[in-house]
Structure formats: structure tokens, C-alpha cells
Symmetry: none
Subunit: 483 residues, 2 copies
């Protein structure tokens, strides 16, 4: 997939970051003297966010190729993303230059927030392949892209953009500003009135959103939320109830506020009071960290914006080579989740045991004790555990576990897990005694031979000395003399 980007501001840079971090080269043209700095800053933010976002190993990033003309940038390309200023004459000129140099079946997607495909296509040689592909900031994180223009080009663009973790929404009929910005414009006008009339400050309006319906909209939209409000009586009942409100004089929607100097002053100074403690860079990082956490939460529930993330991860995992036969075993990796940290800002104590437990589950599958055996009424229970906490870890850190089999007999086996950071630093050790059980009878039983055989196979690789701390207990600090 050969991709070019024309224009590298905040939006263009966001596109570029998404393509590159998903493993695709991008050739860029942007004559702005500061283009390299701006794109570099967006890339830095995006790399930082992706590092926290993905549990799966990221692909090798693509290359960013700076060119000195549109013709050079688009020659031989499959997909060209245009993100220049919102002026129709400028967009026409640039599309003409692209068409002069690009393959005739290359797709040209425009980031325009306002213009319709029919406007962009005026005077084009191959108009059908010119589309609106309108993203939302930050482009490298927010999945949605409005694809307007229809036909085979829209299908091809949607397929391509899905491959870089996006959620294309194909819009059937073109209108000014598509869907998202129309909804935003409605809210914006109403919010301007609220500030102008002194009803609420920018902070108060933002708080009503982010402590209220914004939380609903991060995972369900307007209609699905109202469907729930309608209850078992359904959407029809909800509409019948809500209908009359449309006739009430609740809003100022019939009029548009005048954005004069006084209102601009009012908003700008309220915004300073609200957010001025942070620089824009800090706000961007806070925003990105919050979005990453929200994506993780939604991925855990396999819902909404968590789904494109899961799909991307599945693609990334598939690229990984099958597990090597090295020893100690490397069967489990984990990312420290947002909900895993305690009031000290570090991974909570019990999450260490979660990582150990997940590594134990991975070992059970490795020895063949999978869900089909659980269903038959067999499992292995941990009866004893010894943990040494060696380092603190923070949200977003990546951990791996090295697993050894220290011993086994017909009914039991003894595991040693070593949690390490990406860089090899020790985080914790766990020693665990497990017993094979008949779950219906609730008591220990001898393992079927295939498991004993498998454990013997694994144990043959265990040739090193035992860890110093194996078998140790907590043996100091007794109030009583006896130990």
C-alpha cells in the first residue's frame, strides 16, 4: 500500500503518524517552513500514545519520505490524503496537480470538514476517485473517518483505512460538513449562547459534558442511549414522550450569536481560568492518556472503539513468529492497565498475583490442560504461593514472565515465575505449588499420563540451579522468640 500525504499540519501529521505507526511508508509534500517540526511533534505524541495503547507488538514503523513537489510525492501512489487549508480554490489547484502526476486509479481522500465531494470534483479528470475522508483530532487515536462520495472508490478507501485501525462511516448523501461537524456545530452555537448570556462558564459547560453525557457518548451514541431511556416500552415510546419538547422554546437555536470581541474575550479568559494551568502539549498528553485508558476499557468489553483496537492487535499478533522453544518458558506478557494502579501510583499488590495467575494459566495450556479438560471436570488449583516484590511498576508498562518448572510428581507441580520489565529489570518473583484436582469431587487426584509425560518433557529442560530464594519463607522480625 503506497501512501502520500499532501499537507502536514495537526490533521495531516495525525494521518501520517497513523499510517507510519501501522507499518506503512508515507511520502509527504508540505512547503510550510515549519512542516518538519510540526509533523515531528505529532509523531512524538503518537508514538508515546501507541506505546501505551497496544499490548500486541507493534509492527516496524514505516518510513517518512519528504519530497519537494506534489508530483514527486504522489507518483506511483495508491492512496493520497489531502489535508491543506479549508479553501476550495486551493483544494482544486492541488487536486489538479495530484491528478497530473498520480496513477489514474489512485484514490484522493480529502480531510475537508466542510466541502462536499461534488465541490471537490469540479474540473477533475477522474472525479469518481475523489472522496471526502474526514477524520477527527487526534487522528492517530480517534478511529472514526467519514467517507463521502460513494462508489468503488469509497469501498476501496474504507477497506484501506480499516487496515490502519480506523472505523470508516460511509455517508450515503453528501451535505455540507458531513455528520460529525453538523452535530458539533449545533452544540457549539448553543454553548456560545450559554456563555454570552452568563448562564454558565466554559468550565461549567465542560464539566456538565465530561461528568455527564460525554461518558455515555464515549461508548454508545445518541440513539442507543435514548433507546435505553425508553426502557422496555422501546424507542417508539421514547419518541412519543420526547416529541413535544421539540416545540418548546428551550433553545436559542433559531438565532445565531454574534461572535464579537466581547464574547471572544469572555470565552478566552474563561478558558484560561479553566485550562491555563496546562500547556497545550500537556493537555494533549493528558487527553491521549485518557483516550488510551478508555480504549483499554472498551477493548476489555469488546465494544465500540475497543473493537478496531482489538482487530489491529490481532493483526499485529499474527505477524509474530510462533513461540520459540527456549527455556525458561516465555508464555505470558502483560500491560499494566489503568485500573491496576493504587493510591501510590504503582501497580496494586494483588495485580502481581494476577500476572502470576495468568502466567500459570498460560502454563496449564502449554502442558495441555485446556478448556476441554476443565469442561470434563479437571483443573489445577494453587495451594501455596510465595511472592517477592522487587520493583514498582506504573500504568502502561509492559511486563513479561519467565516460567520454570521446579518440580512435579503424580498429583502436584511447582512453578517459578519471574516478572521482568521490557528492558530486563526484575519486577517480582512468584513460587507456586499447584495440585491437580477432580473438580466435581473437590479433591486432588493423579494426573492422566499425558500430563505427567508433558511435565517430564518440560522438566528435562530445567537444568540450572534452583533460585536462591526457592523454598524460602518470611523468616525475620518475630515479636515472639520462636520461629
Amino acid at each position: 500500500m503506497k501512501i502520500a500525504a499532501i499537507g502536514g499540519g495537526v490533521i495531516g501529521g495525525g494521518w501520517i503518524a497513523r499510517f507510519i505507526l501501522n507499518g506503512h511508508d508515507v511520502s509527504i509534500f508540505d512547503p510550510h517552513p515549519e512542516a518538519q517540526r510540526i509533523v515531528g511533534e505529532v509523531m512524538a505524541n503518537a508514538s508515546r500514545a501507541y506505546d501505551k495503547l497496544f499490548q500486541a507488538p507493534l509492527p516496524e514503523p514505516g518510513r517518512l519520505i519528504w519530497t519537494s513537489s506534489i508530483a514527486e510525492a504522489v507518483a506511483g501512489m495508491d492512496y493520497i490524503q489531502e489535508s491543506v487549508s479549508e479553501r476550495l480554490d486551493l483544494k482544486h489547484r492541488i487536486i489538479a496537480e495530484i491528478e497530473a502526476a498520480a496513477p489514474k486509479d489512485a484514490i484522493i481522500g480529502s480531510s475537508t470538514s466542510g466541502f462536499k465531494p461534488s465541490e471537490l470534483r469540479q474540473g477533475a479528470k477522474h472525479p469518481d476517485r475523489i472522496l471526502v475522508t474526514h477524520p477527527f483530532n487526534p487522528v492517530y487515536l480517534l478511529p472514526v473517518v467519514e467517507v463521502v462520495g460513494g462508489g468503488k472508490a469509497a469501498d476501496r478507501a474504507s477497506a484501506l483505512l480499516s487496515q490502519v485501525g480506523m472505523k470508516p462511516v460511509t455517508i450515503a448523501r453528501e451535505i455540507d460538513a458531513h455528520i460529525g461537524d453538523r452535530l458539533l456545530e449545533a452544540v457549539w452555537r448553543e454553548a456560545l449562547w450559554l456563555v454570552k448570556d452568563g448562564i454558565a462558564s466554559t468550565q461549567e459547560i465542560d464539566d456538565v459534558i465530561r461528568y455527564g453525557f460525554g461518558l455515555r457518548w464515549a461508548q454508545m451514541g445518541l440513539f442507543e442511549t435514548y433507546r435505553i431511556a425508553g426502557g422496555e416500552a422501546g424507542m417508539r415510546h421514547f419518541l412519543a414522550q420526547f416529541g413535544p419538547a421539540l416545540k418548546w422554546p428551550w433553545t436559542k437555536l433559531m438565532d445565531v450569536p454574534d461572535l464579537d470581541d466581547a464574547l471572544i474575550d469572555q470565552i478566552a479568559s474563561q478558558s484560561d481560568a479553566q485550562s491555563g494551568a496546562y500547556s497545550i502539549r500537556e493537555l494533549e498528553r493528558i487527553r491521549d492518556d485518557n483516550l488510551v485508558g478508555i480504549f483499554h476499557a472498551l477493548k476489555a468489553n469488546d465494544w465500540g472503539a475497543g473493537q478496531p483496537l482489538r482487530e489491529a492487535e490481532n493483526r499485529f499478533y499474527k505477524r509474530k513468529v510462533a513461540a520459540p522453544s527456549t527455556y525458561p518458558l516465555m508464555l505470558h506478557q502483560a500491560r499494566v492497565g489503568a485500573s491496576w494502579v493504587d493510591y501510590n501510583g504503582h501497580m496494586t499488590e494483588f495485580r502481581y498475583l494476577q500476572v502470576f495467575g495468568d502466567a500459570t494459566d498460560a502454563f496449564l495450556i502449554h502442558m495441555g490442560l485446556d478448556e476441554s479438560w476443565i469442561a470434563k471436570g479437571f483443573s489445577a488449583y494453587t495451594v501455596e504461593t510465595h511472592i517477592r516484590h522487587l520493583a514498582e511498576v506504573k500504568a502502561g508498562e509492559k511486563l513479561r514472565v519467565e516460567t520454570r518448572l521446579l518440580g512435579h510428581d503424580a498429583k502436584r507441580f511447582r512453578l517459578h515465575h519471574h516478572i521482568l520489565r521490557d528492558n530486563g529489570d526484575e519486577v517480582a518473583t512468584g513460587e507456586h505449588m499447584l495440585v491437580f484436582v477432580d473438580t466435581a469431587k473437590g479433591r486432588s487426584t493423579s494426573m492422566p499420563h499425558q500430563f505427567q509425560h508433558r511435565l517430564e518433557e518440560i522438566a528435562r529442560k530445567e537444568t540450572g540451579p534452583l533460585p536462591d530464594h526457592a523454598g524460602a519463607g518470611i523468616r525475620t522480625l518475630c515479636t515472639q522468640g520462636a520461629e
Copy 2:
């Protein structure tokens, strides 16, 4: 804090669930024949969600007291939440009944989404204590409450509602529909046009929201998001850029769609296609699980809706201070949550350590190491743990922990926790070595004298022999001879 609820539908039930699960009794009046069922269903959803939401041990739930009249419900109450149907004459009648029986300084908060305090207060005896306290569904999860009406009553209501995990937004000037519903109404009208004109389906509109700007609004609002879009040039620059769009004919805001049968049919059938695979109950649980995950993500970043959650948890931890005089100490109880069980149907391995960790936190507070010390940069970290799993437990079981202090010196202390069932059966033992740390320096340090003194006091009660297994390790089953 004595609380009454008049009306127990989805909104009233949500209020009741929030109060009760935060540990407050609620006396309720609702003559609807199905009120008990409806409130029961909301309570069930709320219990399920809180079970997942809180890491801190929840307080003992308050009692729900059904009464047979408004007079009986409100007598002697401090705070009365009115959540009856949206009819002004009905609200006037109910407020009059409340005023006839409630203490004259009791606050009356109305859940009205549309009426102004000045309307609610018409004909009241003590009008100043009548407020709008408008929440958003689901009330037990979404923190925001719009408090309109001003004066001391608004201050008192805000303080009280903060104590049940809410984020009160005080609105300076009353208007119809307050703030949130005006913004929602603006979006709603625009969305109805998009469906009516065949531009997009309910699914497509929802997807643009939940894969797009809804994710931004779960953590920053409208103005803070645009502040970022303005970049270093600032809010003023953004406004100057965005200003002209107000004059463009982008939206249909000058007109209101007619919600006739055809449009109702169109929306209802699109909504069925979009969400019909799930029942309303299922959608509610999906929504709640998503919100819980989002709250956890925001709490980890100490931002927005994560902050009231953190504050609530701090309160819950504090309540556990109630100093017992018996020894072993009984500082922590827990109920096995629905999400705590594994594929074997028993409490997951790592939840044992969660119970031990919570008991350790309770001990820290018992010895005086509370959040004020954490804020000053001191804490105690677990460095070593030995767990013996003695019995399986199932969802819903109640556990208590007996805690002993086995030893201590200037920097360290050694705890022994014993998890027991309600009937006294042994479930597990945990032995833990903790080190007092200077969290800024990230290393151990001597405890201030007050903690050493407190530990000595506690240690004086530790007179019995050590547990047999104290200091033990996992000492059998070595593949290698050496041990």
C-alpha cells in the same frame, strides 16, 4: 444524613441506589403499583456496577424504607429528592405535601429536566430551600448533578451530594432545561434532520459519535478540546478561525423537524436494526460495564470523572478506621463479587491477594498511615508475601480477615492475615513483610516515632504462639536435589 425519595422510577431508583450503596438509609414514597419491582431492578444493576467499580471496600449499604405517604416519608428528613413526572401542577402538589410534613430547613431537590426553581417555588412556604438537582441517567454512575437555585441551600445540597460521589455543577442563572439538556436538545434536533433527510442512519450517527468526538467528551469538554485544536496560538486564535462558520448555512438549526409518524417509524426501525440484538437490560449492563472501565481509566490518570470516584474510595477506606479493641484485629470484611470468580466457578487466585491487600491497607490506616501521609510522600510497600489457599469460595460469600502483627522494627513490619468465612471456616492465610518508604526517593526509611510507638502498642497484644506455618516456604518437590 436523613434522606427521603419521592418517586422511584428509573431516575428516582438511580438516586436511591446511589444513596443506599454509599451507606445512607432512604425512606421512599411511590404509589405506583410496580414501584418496588422497578426500584429493585435499578438497585440490582447498581449493586452489580458498584461491585466492579470500587477497589475500596464498600460501606455497609443503607436501608430502603417503604412508606405509605409523603408525610411519613419526609418527617424528620434533611434532604428530599423529588423525581415524579414532568408536570408542574403535580410537582407543586407534591412540594406542598412535603412542606407540610418535613422540617422547615430540609432541602427539597427536584430531578426536573425542564422547570426552573422559580417555577417550582410558586406558592411554597419556604421557597429558598427548593432547588433543581438534575442528574443524568444512570444516576448511580454518572457523577454530574446540575444544582440550580443558589443561596445557602445550593451550597448545602452540593456538599451533601459530593458525599455520595457526585460532581455538583452550580448554575448561576436559571433557564429552562438548565445546561446539559439544552446541549442535548441541539444535537437531537440536528440528528433528527439527518435521519429525516436520509443523510445517515441512527447507527451511522451513533458511530460518528462513539468512535469520534464522544471519546473526547468523556474526559474533556467542548471548550478544552477546542483549546487544544487552537494550538499554542490559543483559544482566541481558534475562535477567530471558527467564527465565520457561524454564518454558514451548515445546519438546519433555524427550523425544527416535524416528528410525525413517518419519522418515528424511520427512527424506530433503524434503532431496531442497530441495537435490537440486545434487550434493554443487556444494553444497560453493557453500558454500565463500559462506564466502569472508563471511570477506572480516568481514575488512574486522576482526571475528570475519575476524581469523584477516587474521593469516594478515600472516604470508604477512612470509614474502616473504627478501631477494634479485640485482638487479632478485625479491620476488613469483603463480599466475593460476581466478577471475582474464575472459569472454575471459584474466587480467582489473585482476588485472595486483593483481600489481603485491602486488609493491609486497613491496617495502615489503623496504625495512622493515612492519605495525609501518602500525600506527604510516605507509604508502606509489601516486599514479600506467603499465601496458603485452604478452601474455595464462591460469588456472594462474605469473608472477614483477622490480622496479627508478628513483628516490627524501625523500618519494617510483618503482618499475618487470616481469611475466614462468616461461619469461621478457614479460607486462606497470608504472611506479609512491609517496608516503610519515602516514595519520592523510592527507598526505605525509618518510621516517624508515632508509627513505631503505635506498632509497639499493637504488638503488646500479640501474646499467642506464632502460627505453625509462619516463616515457612514451599519446601517440597524439587526437580534439582539442592534446596
